[in-house]
């Protein structure tokens, strides 16, 4: 009976030791002391070998039972201790998640409104099947004026406030034609270059920098224009109206925009028109597509027969229309910049306020603007 009692005592002792183990290390010491090679329970198991079969029959299950029970207890205690330790760790590992982080490069960078607007325009005209044509900023008098039906000395030339380039020294034996190169005053010279190089049907838009000797809140000596040109055998003013009205609706992202086509004059179109859009000026900003005011937004017309002829095409066979508008200007109208001069100042604060996100890509499927 002594043995049985001592097993019970052993159970009590080990159970208490397990209970009292305060960490994994202490628990492991208890495990070694009880279940290790020289442990108290292992000692009991070894004593089985000296017993008679009868004794063994009763003592065997009792000792093994003790061993298994203690092992289970230890495992349970170990789990409890692990959980407690993790909880303790988690409590001590708290960080202040309100600490601010720097904006990443993608957040810091920006796209200029002129580029963004051009991408928007490109998305729209791409859908209408237009290509983009471009030409040089430094143009000859011929492409900028003469080919576009501006007679020499005509007041219409004067209205352009042209920048002239200094005359190039004339090589010996050569004669100067007297015509200086100019900074193009409009993107229209590219109409000529396009018609000279491409067979109709032609559908192009022509963005680019243009220059006039002028400066105030809405005029800068450099600005951006977008020209459009359609040449084929049948395009007429009714289609011009459609193209421009569809463009204005898409660009300003409104369901409807009333337009007013007024007869006007440009040397390179006939008939010529200026286009006003419906707008509301009652608030601080101009709203397009509402209200009772009109705002002049672009010039357009049927390409002048002389211009078509100057490009080697027969105006009785080929016809078409062209238009021109200010990219900066329509950017200002859509996005509300008050002063054109700021466009070219590269003030960090202005760019952060009026710039666009690097991946804010204007598309028709995703929407022109977010």
């Amino acid at each position: 009976m002594n043995d049985v009692i001592s097993l019970d005592t052993l159970r009590e002792q080990i159970t208490a030791d397990i209970e009292n183990a305060s960490d994994e290390k202490a628990l492991d010491a208890v495990r070694v002391a009880a279940l290790g090679k020289k442990g108290s329970v292992s000692g009991q198991l070894k004593s089985l070998g000296k017993m008679s079969p009868e004794e063994r029959q009763t003592a065997g299950p009792a000792i093994n039972g003790l061993k298994n029970d203690m092992a289970a207890l230890i495992e349970a205690k170990s789990a409890t201790l692990k959980k407690a330790a993790l909880e303790a760790r988690l409590t001590s590992e708290k960080v202040d998640v309100t600490l601010p982080l720097q904006a990443g490069p993608m957040q810091r960078g920006s796209i200029h409104p002129v580029s963004q607007t051009l991408d928007e325009i490109t998305a729209i005209f791409s859908d209408m099947g237009f290509a983009i044509a471009e030409g040089p900023d430094i143009e000859s008098d011929y492409y900028n004026f003469t080919a576009l039906n501006f007679p020499e000395g005509h007041p219409a030339r004067e209205m352009h406030d042209t920048f002239f380039m200094k005359a190039k020294p004339v090589a010996e034996g050569e004669e100067s034609n007297g015509n200086k190169m100019v900074l193009r005053t409009h993107t229209s010279p590219v109409q000529i270059r396009t018609m000279e190089n491409q067979e109709p049907p032609i559908r192009v838009v022509i963005p680019g920098r243009t220059y006039r000797c002028d400066s105030d809140q809405t005029h800068t000596p450099m600005f951006h224009q977008l020209e459009g040109l359609v040449i084929d055998k049948s395009s007429h003013i009714g289609q011009l109206r459609w193209v421009l009205e569809e463009f204005l609706k898409a660009y300003f992202e409104v369901d409807n925009v009333k337009t007013r086509f007024r007869p006007s004059f440009f040397p390179f179109t006939e008939p010529s028109m200026e286009v006003d859009v419906q707008c509301d000026r009652s608030g601080n900003e101009v709203k397009i597509g509402e209200g009772n005011d009109w705002l002049e937004i672009l010039g357009c017309g049927m390409v002048h027969p002389n211009v078509i002829r100057n490009c080697g095409l027969d105006p009785d066979i080929y016809q078409g229309f062209a238009w021109g508008m200010g990219i900066d200007r329509i950017a200002m109208l859509k996005y509300g910049m008050p002063d054109l001069r700021d466009f070219f100042d590269a003030d960090k604060r202005w760019m952060e306020h009026y710039g666009f996100r690097p991946l804010d890509l204007p598309t028709l499927f995703g929407g022109l603007s977010s």
Binding site: P100, L101, Q102, P105, R108, G109, S110, I111, S115, T122, S126, D127, M128, G129, F130, I132, E134, D137, I138, G153, H154, P155, M159, F163, M165, K166, A167, P201, D214, S215, P221, S235, H236, I237, G238, Q239, R241, V243, F261, R262, P263, S264, F265, E270, P271, M273, E274, M302, P305, P315, Q319, F344, D345, A346, K348, R349, M351, R357, P358, L361
Partner: protein
């Protein structure tokens, strides 16, 4: 061009409302810029009487007036006008009234201790004239309390329209009336001018010589003149003054007012000379270089051989078609006059106008081509008015030269209207419109003959006639018609270079740069510093002294922007621009560049300091990374891009490099800005920059298939081995990578430099370079022997290429 509705109705019989008239003007191409209803503007001013005017107790020049305004108690007003006196009938503005001539709204005032509750107004304050010597002094019978506009009959509406350069005919009220009548706004009245018989025999003692050399430009083609005797050049009648004031002209004297009136009424400028101030033979010629004239504006103008003048034996009298001379002008004392009505070559008038800078009503009209058929009628109209207003006697006209305006007849297929506009206009309507505009239409088939009137020289062909019909019918009547698609799905829109610019922009913005757009022109100093400054890229007429040269590089503009931002307190900025630079003035001298700058601590990962780290300065490797990232985005395999230590001129010679595909295929540069340049441009370093020539990138090869090559991946794990070498400090790190990679091309996947250092303990002028080589077995796991063998090859290759020694 300003006119009043009242004036318009001299020539137009209409019942249309003012709003209809104004709306129609714009829609037929005579764009209304401003409408001013005079009665509205002056609605609050009333007739008043000064009951008493006492000297101000504290000011010698002021008077304290008690004013009867016709309603309520008399009002106390302090007034500084010398003519403010007891019993004066004047014009009163109460507190709260907007006074247009001084552009403010009256408030209750206290002037030197005396209360003032309104204003006694001058003509200038009401914008009736420039008169400001005293307040308005009305006749004694003026009824106190009535509205001044009612009393004075001011009820007119002033319309200001913009005239396009092609419409000389619309620079006169009569021409405007004709356009309106064509558009259905009333009937045009008969504008024919009857000739006025002379009261004195013959032309008198004047004649006009044309003295133009054979090869000289001849601005004056026809000169009609007429001599008047014994006229009285007093003030013009009130109706005439009123009209001139309404359109913004100052009444001067009867003769000046009559010429101004005809100029506005008929678009026909005239000029009156004081005949007694002409000495000897009156003639037209081109000026001689060195001649000068004091014009009517009091300024002296230098003349040259391209300018046509009217002159006598003593020299220039008038800058022909632009402005008269002061000396020969008419004054109140003038009794004998010689009146000029001439036809001038518009382009030469425009040229002289430009050269002298004179903006006059005469130039405005004559450079837009005055009607050659209205030279003689213009003079007759002036004669009629002078005799009526100034009295006197008149001789026969003298006419020198002639203007032959050849009959212009255009064969006009009626289908042209539909062809160019899509608008269908019945023949009868088109014909009626053209007739009302003064054209003469003959024939009735598909093609008619249209005879163009002399006052419409801008009409040259069929398209012009289409415009005439369309603008009168109304552009808003043109049916909107979709432009047919040329293909189902729209084809690619952008060219390669356009796409490169777009991708470069988005990539650089995504790397933390702001996109800047800077002027295409920069200062001569900047241009020269960056390899430009050649003559052919200089502007002849720059708008500012620092915007004179077309930029040879985008850097000067960006660096100036860095400086401006620094001056505003933002020293850490990253800016890029994608745009054109100019190498010469040919079409292929304009190149597309993508250029970026970083200043201060504006690095890719972090700008300035934060709680996680200190503020690191930008360095050359920031911009090397930017440039390579952009090239990668543009589709280049950056492994093929060579980085060589060839600095750009703007760069620090030891901290800069060049990107290339070969010595002749240079893609761009990157580096730290040269310290001397930073000083020269008055900037604060460090600043790093890169430039990429987007035009230099080779076009992508056309591939037969869009499919990518097969992906080869191995199930076997890669093995990494490190090697450290000691090498001469000048040897470029690039060589290590190249040599190691070449040691066993099959097995070696990549080589990375993971450590570089210099220090005393490894020896003066030496450096340690450590590389990690990744081996990728393909067929079987590598044995120790395999690895040992390839390691030996790597060491041998590196040592051979660099002269380095493996560190023990």
């Amino acid at each position: 061009m300003k006119f009043t509705i009242d004036w318009l109705k001299d020539h137009l019989d209409t019942k249309a409302s003012n709003d209809e008239i104004i709306e129609t003007l714009t829609m037929i191409g005579l764009e209304v810029e401003e409408v001013e209803d005079q009665a509205n503007v002056l609605n609050d001013f009333t007739v008043c009487e000064v009951i008493s005017a006492e000297k101000h107790p504290n000011a010698d020049k002021l008077r304290v007036c008690l004013v009867n305004t016709g309603s309520g108690e008399p009002v106390k007003v302090v007034c500084g006008a010398p003519n403010a006196r007891t019993g004066l009938k004047g014009v009163f503005a109460a507190v709260g009234t907007y006074v247009p001539g001084v552009d403010f709204t009256l408030t209750k005032g206290n002037i030197r201790g005396e209360e003032s509750n309104g204003m006694l107004c001058s003509e200038r304050e009401l914008m009736l004239s420039d008169e400001h010597d005293g307040i308005i002094d009305l006749p004694e019978d003026a009824p106190v309390g009535t509205k001044y506009v009612d009393y004075a009959g001011i009820d007119d509406v002033v319309v200001d329209i913009a005239i396009t350069p092609n419409r000389g005919d619309a620079t006169g009220v009569y021409g405007i009336a004709r356009d309106l009548a064509a558009a259905g706004i009333g009937e045009l009245k008969d504008g024919a001018v009857k000739s006025v018989p002379a009261t004195l025999a013959g032309p008198g003692d004047v004649s006009v010589d044309f003295r133009f050399g054979e090869d000289e430009p001849q601005a004056c083609k026809m000169f009609a003149g007429r001599l008047f005797k014994g006229v009285k050049n007093g003030p013009s009648p009130e109706w005439l003054q009123k009209r001139l004031i309404a359109v913004g002209l100052r009444p001067i004297n009867a003769l000046a007012d009559i010429t101004n009136y005809i100029s506005y009424d008929r678009g026909r400028p005239l000029h009156a000379y004081d005949a007694d101030k002409i000495s000897g033979q009156f003639h037209a010629r081109n000026a001689k270089s060195g001649e000068e004239i004091v014009a009517l504006d009091g300024k002296t103008y230098q003349l040259d051989e391209t300018m046509c003048i009217l002159a006598d034996d003593n020299g220039p009298l008038c800058i022909g078609g632009i402005m008269g001379g002061e000396e020969s002008g008419c004054t109140a004392e003038t009794t004998n006059i010689f009146m000029e009505c001439a036809w001038w070559e518009p382009l030469l008038i425009a040229q002289t106008g430009r050269k002298t800078g004179i903006v006059s009503d005469a130039r405005y009209r004559l450079e837009r081509h005055a009607d050659p058929e209205f030279v003689n009628p213009g003079l007759e109209l002036a004669t009629k008015m002078i005799l009526e207003i100034c009295g006197g006697e008149v001789h026969e006209p003298v006419v020198t030269g002639e203007v032959r305006s050849p009959e212009k007849i255009i064969d006009f297929p009626l289908a042209e209207i539909t062809r160019l506009t899509g608008l269908k206009v019945p023949f009868a309507e088109a014909k009626a419109i053209l007739s009302r505009l003064g054209f003469w239409v003959a024939g009735s088939g598909d093609t008619v003959k249209v005879n163009v009137p002399s006052f419409r020289p801008d009409i040259e062909g069929k398209a012009d006639i289409v415009e005439e019909v369309m603008r009168i019918v109304g552009v808003d009547k043109v049916p909107v018609d979709p432009l047919p698609r040329l293909s189902g799905v729209a084809p690619k829109m952008l060219t390669t270079i356009q796409n490169r610019r777009r991708l470069a922009r988005r990539t650089l913005a995504a790397r933390g740069f702001h996109e800047a757009v800077t002027w295409s022109f920069i200062s001569e100093k900047e241009a020269t510093l960056f390899g430009g400054g050649v003559d052919e890229l200089k502007l002849e007429n720059p708008i500012a002294s620092d915007l004179t040269d077309m930029r040879p590089s985008l850097l000067p503009g960006l660096l100036a922007a860095v400086g401006r931002n620094a001056n505003r307190g933002f020293a850490d900025v990253s800016l890029f621009e994608v745009g054109q630079v100019f190498k010469n003035d040919n079409i292929d001298g304009q190149l597309n560049y993508a250029t970026g700058v970083r200043s201060g601590t504006a690095k890719f990962a972090q700008v300035g300091r934060d709680w996680q780290g200190k503020a690191n300065k930008v360095d050359v490797f920031d911009v090397k990374a930017d440039a390579l990232a952009a090239l990668d985005a543009l589709g280049m395999d950056v492994n093929n891009v060579q980085v060589v230590a060839e600095p750009a001129d703007w760069a620090h010679p030891g901290r800069a490099g060049r990107l290339q595909l070969g010595p002749k295929m240079i893609l761009g540069w990157f580096g730290e800005l040269h310290p001397a340049l930073i000083t020269e441009l008055d900037l604060q370093g460090p600043i790093v920059a890169f430039e990429l020539n987007l035009d230099a990138i080779p076009a992508p090869r056309k591939k037969a298939s869009k499919a990518k090559g097969a992906l080869e991946i191995s199930d076997l794990q890669p093995v990494r081995r490190d090697f450290a070498f000691l090498v001469d400090g000048a040897v470029e790190a690039n060589k290590f990578v190249k040599a190691a990679n070449s040691a066993d091309k099959k097995l070696i996947q990549s080589t990375m430099i993971f450590d570089v250092f210099e220090g005393e303990h490894i020896g003066e002028g030496k450096k340690s370079v450590a590389i990690e080589v990744t081996l990728q077995p393909r067929q079987k796991t590598l044995t120790d022997e395999d690895i040992e063998a390839v390691s030996k090859k790597i060491i041998a290759a590196v040592e051979k290429a660099t002269g380095a020694a493996l560190r023990g």
